[in-house]
Each structure stands twice: as C-alpha cells, then as structure tokens.
Amino acid sequence: MPTPTNAFVEIAERYGVDPSDLHAIEKWFCESLPLLPGHEIEEILEKLLSWPEGQPATFGDHHDDAEEAPPLLRLDDCPPCAVPLLASRLRDLPRLLLSRLAGYKKGKT
C-alpha cells in the first residue's frame, strides 16, 4: 500500500523534472510518462510498487490555500460502477456456449 510520495518525486527527477516543483511532477506523470515506451513504464511501475519504506516527501505549501478549490462533484458526472464483470460473463455463458456449438456444427457440415 504505501508508496511514499518521494518515490514519485525521485523517479520524475531522474527524467529531468525539478524535484521541488510538485505541479511539474504531477504534469510529468500525467502527460510525459504516457509517451514513454511500454517496457519503461512497466519498469517504473514495478519500482513504485517495490519502493522501500521512507518518510513521505513534504512539500510545504503543496496544498496551496490560494489556489481555487475545485467545486463539489456533480452527481451526474459520477455514474455508479457497473456490477460484475465476472457475473455478466457468466450470464452470457449459455449464449456463448450455444454460439460456439452452432459454430462448431456449422464448421463440421
């Protein structure tokens, strides 16, 4: 569970991002990281997952009161999560089996 924030900071720093600028780090993770090759992203993820324990980085004015606070989230923009991938797959199972069977018979004739 605990990947300390300084893990993200250090990784971004390796890619030339100013470690004292949290906004630049967030931006790098949001915008620049997706442009890296897949294997490099995987490597970074593994590093974050296995980062040793450490004190979380402190950014002082990280939560800047002067910044405009985002408004309350609109309920309409937050649809409830659809239930069960697995269950929906299982519900489809008879239909899937029938279609496979039909395909098999068709192929045989």
Binding site: P2, T5, L45, L72, L73, L75, D77, C78, C81, L90
Partner: protein, 233 residues
C-alpha cells in the same frame, strides 16, 4: 457452497449505504476514480489527513497515484483500478468523496503463488473533520458516514470477487499504522502472511520481503467478509 456459487454467479454489488450516528443511513455511491475526484480530495481531504501525525496516509498524493494507475491499466498487465466511494448529496446534486481505493487487479496470490489475486495499492478514508467542513454541504455529526474503512476495504474485496480472482486479495499494512493497523485488518477477517514466508516472484519479494505486515483474503475469507456488509449493499 451453493450460496457461494450463486453469489459469484450473480456478482456482488458495491456498498450503497453507510450507517450514521443519527440512525438514518447515508446514501453512498461507488464510482470509478477520476481526476476531478482526486483534485477534490487533494484540496479538501488530504490537508486534514496531513495534519494528523497518527494517520498512515499522511503525505500521500493521489494526484500522482491515480493518473499513473489509469495509464498502467491500459499498458500493463497488472490491471489497476481506482474507485471513489462518495456520499450522495441529493439536495445539491453532488457527490462527496469519502474514500479512495486503488487496486491492482492482477497480482500473484499470497496464499497460493500459482493463483491470481488482487492487491490493494492505496486505500484512504476521509476523516470526520474533512466531511464536517465541506464547503456548500457541511455534514452534521449525526449524518457522518461511519465504517468507511470497512467499506473501502469491501470495495477492493468486491472488485476481486467480481473478477476471475474470486476474492483473493492482499495488501501491505503501512508500517506507519503499527500493530493496530494489522490488527484492524485481522478483525476484518484477513490473514497475516507469516514473516518468514516468501512472497510470490515479484520485485516486492526482494525489496519488501514479508515482515508480518502482508495481509490477505483467501476466496473463502473474502466471501465471508463480503457477506458481513450485505445489509449495506
């Protein structure tokens, strides 16, 4: 056994309400975590958490975690998923995030390395103070949702139950939470991986070997824990 099979067939709903001190249940909604949720969390909730030296999630930055996980979801095989547990504020047509959960949907099982489970990467709940001071929708003590920790853990469990991982779920109890945090997970029915036991073949095995803080649900344990929250679904 049949009951368990039926449960898996039907799928498990996410929790839809939380108890409150006042007795009137609070309506909850579990939704996919998006950037606005995280921005709201970072400006309204995280500052309150950061002021509490006892909180293991002090200093976390969801603005870094969430977008990265979404990206990893598309590119990697770990299948991360993020959930926001929000309290529905119908009077103002809003949703107040009460908990955030980040899960790795595909991770080797701790109890059986040949099986696939899910792994809770981050889990955080809003302190009461943060919910009492929401601009435009301050909650009174009587309306504060309770059991948010159990509900957030249940979201991760439900995620795993509804997938081929069948409820197998693991997490690492942050060392900052000390023994009370491990005990809390145990009270939720999780088992603790003994400190001499080896982790599956993942980088964690090398960097963060088992130290008695890895907790996990077996599929049976997950079903048992899930049933406990059925009245809230």
């Amino acid at each position: 056994m049949i009951r368990n099979m039926l449960r898996r067939f039907r799928g498990v709903r996410f929790v839809r309400q939380a108890p409150t001190r006042g007795g009137q249940p609070a309506e909850l909604r579990v939704t996919e975590m998006t950037l606005p949720h995280v921005q709201w969390w970072n400006s309204h909730v995280q500052p309150v958490i950061d002021r509490d030296p006892e909180r293991p999630d002090r200093g976390w930055n969801w603005l870094l975690y969430a977008p990265f996980a979404t990206l990893a979801d598309k590119l990697l095989s770990r299948q991360p998923a993020g959930y926001t547990v929000g309290m529905v504020a119908r009077e103002v047509g809003g949703l107040i995030p009460c908990a955030l959960v980040q899960v790795m949907g595909r991770f080797p099982g701790l109890d059986d390395h040949n099986k696939t489970g899910s792994f809770v990467w981050f889990l955080s709940t809003a302190p009461d103070e943060a919910l009492r001071t929401v601009a435009g929708y301050p909650l009174t003590e009587e309306r504060l949702p309770k059991r948010l920790g159990s509900i957030a853990l249940d979201v991760a469990t439900t995620h795993s139950l509804n997938r081929p991982t069948q409820g197998r779920l693991a997490l690492y109890a942050d060392a900052a939470g000390g023994k009370p945090l491990v005990d809390w997970y145990c009270r939720r029915g999780m088992e603790v991986l003994e400190d001499e036991k080896r982790l599956p073949l993942v980088p964690r095995r090398l960097f963060r070997p088992s130290d008695g803080r890895y907790c996990y649900y077996t599929p049976t344990g997950a079903l048992r824990a899930s049933r406990e929250l059925d009245p809230l679904r």
